[in-house]
Subunit: 389 residues, 2 copies
C-alpha cells in the first residue's frame, strides 16, 4: 500500500442561495475580478444578474470574458490571460461547468507568466509556479473541476486535447447550488453522470492493494449516480437527485479516492482523442468506450475487481462463477448507459469511422504504452476503438 | 435538505516514514515548537528520538510538555498555555491520540488570551478568535481529533467533561502513520474502533433527509471498522487493518459526513458523564451505551433508518418485517462489541452503580432535553443508564 498526501483545501458553499457569501469570499483576494462564462445561458436564467448584484454590493470592479466553448480552446485561455494582465486582475470567477472552469484555471496561471498559455499543456516545458486565485460557481455536475487541480484544454490547430494537473490550479472557493443544474438537458445530465462514473472507475479499477474504505466510498458514489441520474433526467428539478450528483461529481475526482493508488487512467486518454478529433461530448465518448475497455481488459488476473464492482455496485448475484459475475457487471453497465440513460452506443451512430484510429491511438498512448488498469499498446487501443464502431 | 459549508483544509501525510516532512511543515509556522505528549511510550518505541532528529535537522527550538492524561485535564492545558506564553511558541506539535491532541488544541487557543483556559469550555463565555497553529502525529485511531475542530477536556474538580468546537482548533498538518498504532493494545484498539463507529452513527441516525452519497459513505466506513477492527486485534502489525482504521477515524468526524444534517449527538453527551464521573475509557462507555440507546429510541417513525443500518452495514436479510430487521441489526451490534471485540457489556461489570445517574443525566441533557436522533429528557437518559447496568 503506497503512501499519499491528502491536501484539498477548497472551501465549498453547498446549497441554494449561498451566493450571499460571494462578495465576502472574492474580497479576500482583492477588488478586481475577471468573470468567465460560456454561451450566455446565465443571462437568460437570471444567474448573471444575481452574481453582478452580489459583486456590486461588495464594491468589486468586474471584467468579463464570455463565450468559452465546450472542450475549451486555447484561444479563449489566451484572451483571458491577456485581460488579467491588462487590468491587473486579483481573482478569477468562473461561472459554468468544467469547460469554463478548466479554461479559467490555465488563464489564472498564464496571467502570471510571459510565455504562451499553450506551453503549460506540456508539463516538462512550463512549470506552474503560481496562479491567480480562482473562485467557481458550478452549473453542471460532471468534471469535478470545481474541487480538483486539473484542466483540459483543446487546440484545434493541432487536434490536441491535453490535461494538466497542478496544485496551484485548485479553486479556493466553490459555490455548488444543485438548483443551478435544473436547466441541464437530459442529454447533458446523462453525459455528466457518465463522466462522474468514469472518474471513479478509472481509480477503482486498479489491482494495487489500497484502502478498503476508499473502495467502499467509490462503490457508494457509483450507486449514487446509478440511483439519481435517471431521477434527474426524469424530473430535472428534483433537488435531492441534483444535489447527490453534484457533490458526487466533486468527490469523484478531488483526489480523496486515490489514496496511494497510482493515478494512470485508461478511458480518459482514449476519449480525449475522440473529442479532440470529432468534438463530441466527453461523457458520451466515455460511455461508448468504457464497457468495451472493460471487456477488452478482463482476464483471470483481474476478474476479482470486476466481481467486486458487479456485486457491490449493481447487486449482481455473487453465487456464480467469477467470469459470469464479471460479464454480468459489464452488461449492467452497458444497459445503464445505453438503455437507462438512453445514450447512443456506438461511434458509427455518431458518424465516426476508423480513419483516424491509428493517429488517435498513437496519441492516446503517447507513442508508447497507456499505463492504466491494464497496460495498453497502440494496437490494443485501436482494437478498443474498433469494438466501439 | 439543509445547506452546508465544507471547509477542511488540514493537510495529511499518510503512511510510513512520512516524518521526513515534519521539519519543513513545522518551519512554515516559525522556529519555536512546543511538543506535547502523554505517558512517555514514545520514548520507549523510538518515536521521540525520530521526531527530535527531524526537528533538530530543521533547526527548530523545541520545548516539551509530557504527561498529558487520557481524558485530558484542564491543568495540563493550563501548563501548556503557560509554556507557550513564556517562550513565545510559534507552533504546537501534539504527538499521541485524541487526548493529547485535544489538550493541545485548547492550549493553542489559551496561549492567545489572558483569561483561564477553562473559560473556553463555555462557548458563550469565551469566543475562540485565534489559536497557535497545531501539527499532529497520531498514535491512536479513535477520536479523529487529527482532522477536526473539536476538543474535549475534563475538570476533575467539578466532575465536568466538556467538548468545544471551533475552526481555529483544526490542525494545519497531521501525520498519520498506521505502523505507529501497531503497539496499541487489543483493548484500546477495540475501544478506539467503537469510538469511530459511534462518531459515524451519531450522524447516520438522523431522520432529516440528507445526501444519499453520504449515507453510503458512512455505511462503507462502518463496514470498514467491522471488517478490520478484529484483524487489528488479532494481528497488531497488520498494516492494511491499521491503515483502514486510521483513515476512517479521521473521516468519521472531520465534518464531511454531516452534509447539512443537524449535528446534535446522543451517545457522546451521555458517555462523557460516565467517563467524567468514573474515568472509564470513552470507547468502552460508548460500546455499553450505544446498543441500549438504539433499543430505547426504536419506534415506528424511525425504524426505516435502523433497517438501512442493519441491511447495509451488517448484511441482515431484508426479507423480513421492518421491526425484526431493526432488532436483528441492534443484536448484531451487541455481538460485534461484546463478542467480536470482547468488551465488557455492562456498567455493573465496571463497578458502576446507579448512585450518580440523576446528576449525570441532568448534565447530559444540559438541564433540558438532549436533542439528538430522538429527543431525550433527563428521565429518558436515566432509563438508558439503567438499561446498561
Amino acid at each position: 500500500m503506497n503512501n499519499f498526501v491528502y491536501n484539498i483545501p477548497t472551501k465549498v458553499y453547498f446549497g441554494e442561495n449561498q451566493l450571499s457569501h460571494l462578495g465576502e469570499e472574492l474580497s479576500k483576494f482583492g477588488t478586481r475580478v475577471l468573470m468567465t462564462y460560456g454561451g450566455g445561458s446565465i443571462k437568460k436564467n437570471g444567474l448573471y444578474d444575481r452574481i453582478m448584484e452580489e459583486m456590486k454590493k461588495a464594491g468589486l470592479e468586474v471584467f468579463e470574458l464570455s463565450g468559452i466553448e465546450p472542450n475549451p480552446r486555447i484561444d479563449s485561455v489566451r484572451k483571458g490571460a491577456q485581460i488579467c494582465k491588462e487590468h491587473n486582475i486579483d481573482v478569477l470567477l468562473a461561472v459554468g461547468g468544467g469547460s469554463t472552469i478548466d479554461a479559467t484555471k490555465i488563464m489564472a496561471a498564464a496571467a502570471c507568466v510571459e510565455h504562451d498559455a499553450w506551453d503549460f499543456m506540456n508539463e516538462k516545458k512550463a512549470p506552474i509556479n503560481k496562479a491567480l486565485p480562482i473562485v467557481t460557481i458550478l452549473t453542471l455536475s460532471a468534471t469535478g473541476s470545481e474541487m480538483d487541480t486539473a484542466a483540459v484544454i483543446s487546440n484545434p490547430e493541432t487536434d490536441d486535447k491535453i490535461g494538466r494537473l497542478d496544485p496551484n490550479l485548485l479553486p479556493k472557493v466553490s459555490f455548488l447550488d444543485p438548483s443551478l443544474t435544473y436547466s441541464v438537458s437530459q442529454y447533458q445530465t446523462a453525459c455528466g453522470s457518465v463522466d462522474i462514473m468514469s472518474h471513479i472507475m478509472e481509480v477503482y479499477f486498479n489491482m494495487n492493494k489500497d484502502l478498503f474504505m476508499l473502495d467502499a466510498f467509490m462503490e457508494g458514489m457509483l450507486k449514487t449516480v446509478v440511483k439519481f441520474a435517471p431521477v434527474a433526467m426524469e424530473t430535472p428539478d428534483n433537488y435531492e437527485a441534483r444535489a447527490n450528483l453534484m457533490w458526487t461529481s466533486s468527490w469523484a475526482i478531488n483526489g480523496f479516492i486515490n489514496g496511494g493508488r497510482a493515478k494512470a487512467w485508461s478511458c480518459h486518454p482514449m476519449e480525449h482523442q475522440l473529442s479532440a478529433y470529432y468534438d463530441i461530448t466527453h461523457g458520451l465518448g466515455l460511455a461508448i468506450l468504457t464497457p468495451r475497455w472493460m471487456e477488452y481488459c478482463l482476464d483471470e488476473t483481474n476478474v476479482s475487481k470486476y466481481v467486486q464492482f458487479a456485486v457491490n455496485v449493481f447487486g449482481v448475484d455473487a453465487n456464480q462463477d467469477d467470469m459470469a459475475i464479471a460479464k454480468e457487471g459489464i452488461q449492467r453497465l452497458y444497459d445503464f448507459f445505453f438503455k437507462t440513460l438512453g445514450l447512443k452506443s456506438t461511434l458509427s451512430e455518431l458518424g465516426i469511422g476508423r480513419e483516424h484510429f491509428e493517429d488517435m491511438a498513437e496519441k492516446a498512448c503517447g507513442g508508447a504504452v497507456l499505463k492504466g488498469f491494464k497496460p495498453l499498446t497502440k494496437e490494443d487501443i485501436v482494437k478498443i476503438y474498433e469494438m466501439c464502431l
